[in-house]
Amino acid sequence: MTLTSTHGAVCAGPESIDAIVGRAEALLRSGDAREARALVVTSLPAIERHGNRAVLRKAVNLLGAADFEMGEFADAEAAFHQALDLARRDGDDLLLARATNNLGAIANVRGQREKALVMYALAVAAYQRLGQARGLAHAYHNMAITFRHAGLLDRADEHERRAIEFAREAPAPHVVTLARIGRAEISLLRGDARLAEATALLVARELIGVPDPIERANALRVAGAARLALGNTAGAHETLSQALALARRHGVALTEAETLRVFAELHARNGAMFEARELAGLAIRLFTRLGARRDRDSLEAWTAALGERLEVTPSP
């Protein structure tokens, strides 16, 4: 079954197929995955008929990326597999690397860590063939995330280091930021909250004046969590408030939910169980909206345990 038959056949307009795919890419990059997807789906029959393989490959990969952004992982996986097949057939090594990396991300979302690592390793090999430092940085960062989830923290940290190394070579400052925040999270998981706090605050400071409020919010979130782990609840409150304000101002629901979750923990630590439960409830609603099932479920379990304590130690 081709993607055309999967997504229906609608003819593209007079705009050149190149321009259409370019427009879809712009839509996706500006955060409008739904529109980007609709545009690609509408144009796919015309692109297939046209016979321009390069545009077809790009369109199929874009479709997968849009599906991924929308949380439609099964559709995204089908599209990335098709992109991979097209890439192999046409010798497009860069698309091969990207599609493999993206399939790794899907496997990771599904909790298939080993499969994700295999895909990332193949992506790394493909990027090595191309000499693509940026791609290597992305793939190593993704591997680090998977190792971190598996609790293999030393390995996760080494992979973040490699991501930073290649991101500096590329140069890809955004990936340097992502990987540094990742390393701060790893330090926190290792129990080294002092190092986590220092790293996250350094990243947050570096991002002042840089148009990357989302990652600044994330860095502040991790710094807040580190301060909380160190028992500095006042400092945690201050940092988390900044993170939350940034996340809300820029409409970053995931960061908002994650920050609310730490805030809930902060209130629980202070014995304010009612407030803790309220904030956890807000975070759960956001996780539900985002389709972040694992986070939602774990927070619900935590809230249930909190409920038990609420009955015996009502907050003043």
Binding site: A126, N142, A229, S298
Partner: protein, 474 residues
């Protein structure tokens, strides 16, 4: 910027080239003389013959041997002219105006290919600079001997190397140095940790698979041996290979061929193998845990990296180097190492070797923020065991949290295991297993946990959704 060379046999389309070149990110050089038509490897060529199609064949035959792709562009696609041009060496044939989109795409692909070749060379150069042997710090005789040996085998492209040494001694760094300073440096360096991936997945990862080889194999896929072709495959923790994979690796080393999983055809591969291990492979072979024949095949050039305790004289110079490196990396003032700090470094135990020293110095740079690094800044780290009010480790890896949450929830549920399991969102069987076997059961059942409806417990701050959004996806 890649260059577009156009040989004009007629005036047709002459206004088109500047636009096309700009759209495709190419600089433009136009000529009407075949003798002045350059064919360098960083370019792409067009022989344009609108209205002069009968001259195309001769024009292509006149072109000197070339190292770039050259297409014929004409105003119509008369079959004989197309066949003649392609036979004479045209890579493609485009008839304008109908094929304008195809021509644009072809030019973009060629430009991308030129950029890829350029990237590959530049990347290899950067890596070579990064992994210079001179850059590996240390004066201890044991290290110098190891590096001398490594440097001697560099010109020998196909020689198999076995690097041994404790964790953190720099085995991978040395493997990269061997690759990027050697004749294969422009080909890929592909590394795989044999301990990180289960046997079956590792087999398909290394050797690839054919379509239908197993349930999920909807299409054929090359493995790492194929992707590393022409370059180096670094097999880290090679001692963890299963007997089956040991046998398959031995065959590759003997025959220089691989067979994909589910395949019948042998494919030739030209790959240098660099293996590394922290275990004593010979002892493992004597215990029957590692194939002796494979051990001897891998051990063609053995290089042993010494642990840090065997090169104490290198500790302080290495520490100073790392302090400088991290101060620059984090844009922080350069802190000095106090004499007491240096003494502590020299006398401290370093089970994690150079990697542990590097991590300790990075930590010191980040935490001192420019003030002098004192003894207590570099003492062996004792991680605080931070716990939340529930007695559940916080923050901690999910498995640790799960294990801790089981007795906690059991207590909340007054010993009712079914209710406790329900509240944690795991099966009662798994709950019992976690209760009985703790962390070991949590790790064993990790995959199983991921497939369950609600993968357990409380606040880790660092949930899965961030990866689900895959911020680093391209």
């Amino acid at each position: 910027m890649p260059r577009l060379f156009v040989l004009q046999l007629s005036d047709s389309f002459s206004t088109l080239w500047p636009t096309l070149a700009r759209e495709c990110g190419l600089s433009l050089e136009v000529t009407t003389s075949p003798a002045r038509f350059e064919t360098p490897s960083d370019g792409v060529g067009i022989v344009a013959a609108g209205g002069e199609e009968h001259h195309l064949e001769a024009a292509f035959r006149d072109l000197s041997p070339r190292s770039m792709e050259v297409a014929a562009v004409a105003s119509h696609a008369e079959p004989r002219a197309v066949v003649a041009a392609v036979r004479a060496g045209a890579s493609e044939y485009f008839a304008l105006t109908g094929d304008i989109d195809l021509l644009r795409s072809w030019l973009r692909e060629q430009a991308d290919a030129v950029r890829t070749r350029h990237h590959r060379s530049a990347f290899a150069e950067t890596q070579r600079d990064k992994y210079q042997f001179d850059g590996i710090l240390g004066e201890s005789p044991a290290l110098v001997a190891a590096l001398d040996r490594a440097a001697r085998i560099i010109p020998h492209s196909g020689v198999t190397v076995l690097i041994t040494g404790e964790t953190g001694t720099g085995k991978e760094l040395l493997a990269r140095a061997v690759h990027y300073n050697g004749p294969r440096r422009e080909a890929p360096f592909v590394d795989i940790n044999c301990a990180a991936i289960p046997e079956q997945l590792l087999e398909t990862e290394l050797f690839g698979h054919e379509r239908g080889a197993f349930t999920d194999a909807s299409s054929a896929k090359p493995g790492l041996f194929e992707l590393a072709n022409g370059g180096t495959l670094f097999l880290d923790e090679v001692g963890h290979l299963s007997p089956l994979l040991q046998g398959k690796l031995l065959r590759v080393l003997q025959e220089r061929q691989i067979r994909r999983v589910g395949g019948v055809k042998s494919l030739p591969v030209d790959v240098k193998i660099v293996a590394a291990t922290h275990v004593d492979l010979l002892a493992a072979a004597r215990r029957g845990e590692f194939r002796e024949d494979l051990y001897y095949r891998l051990n063609v050039v053995p290089i042993e990296l010494p642990p840090l305790r065997a090169r104490r004289e290198d500790i302080v110079p290495l520490a100073r180097h790392f302090v400088r490196q991290f101060a620059v990396e984090y844009n922080l003032p350069l802190p000095q190492l106090s004499p007491a700090g240096e003494r502590t470094l020299r006398h401290r135990r370093w089970p994690g070797n150079v990697r542990e020293l590097r991590n300790a110095m990075e930590r010191a740079v980040l935490l001192t923020q420019g003030r002098q690094i004192a003894s207590w800044d570099v003492e062996a780290e004792v991680m605080p065991d931070v716990r939340d009010a529930n007695g559940i480790p916080f923050p901690a890896p999910l498995n640790t949290v799960i294990v801790a949450a089981v007795p906690s929830m059991l207590s909340i549920c007054a010993g009712n295991k079914s209710e406790a399991a329900r509240r944690l969102g795991i099966s009662r069987t798994r709950f019992q297993r976690l209760l009985d076997h703790g962390e070991a059961a949590a790790l064993d059942s990790d995959a199983d946990a991921d497939n369950e409806a609600a993968p357990a417990v409380p606040l880790t701050l660092l949930g899965g959704a961030r990866a689900a959004r895959a911020r680093s996806r391209q």
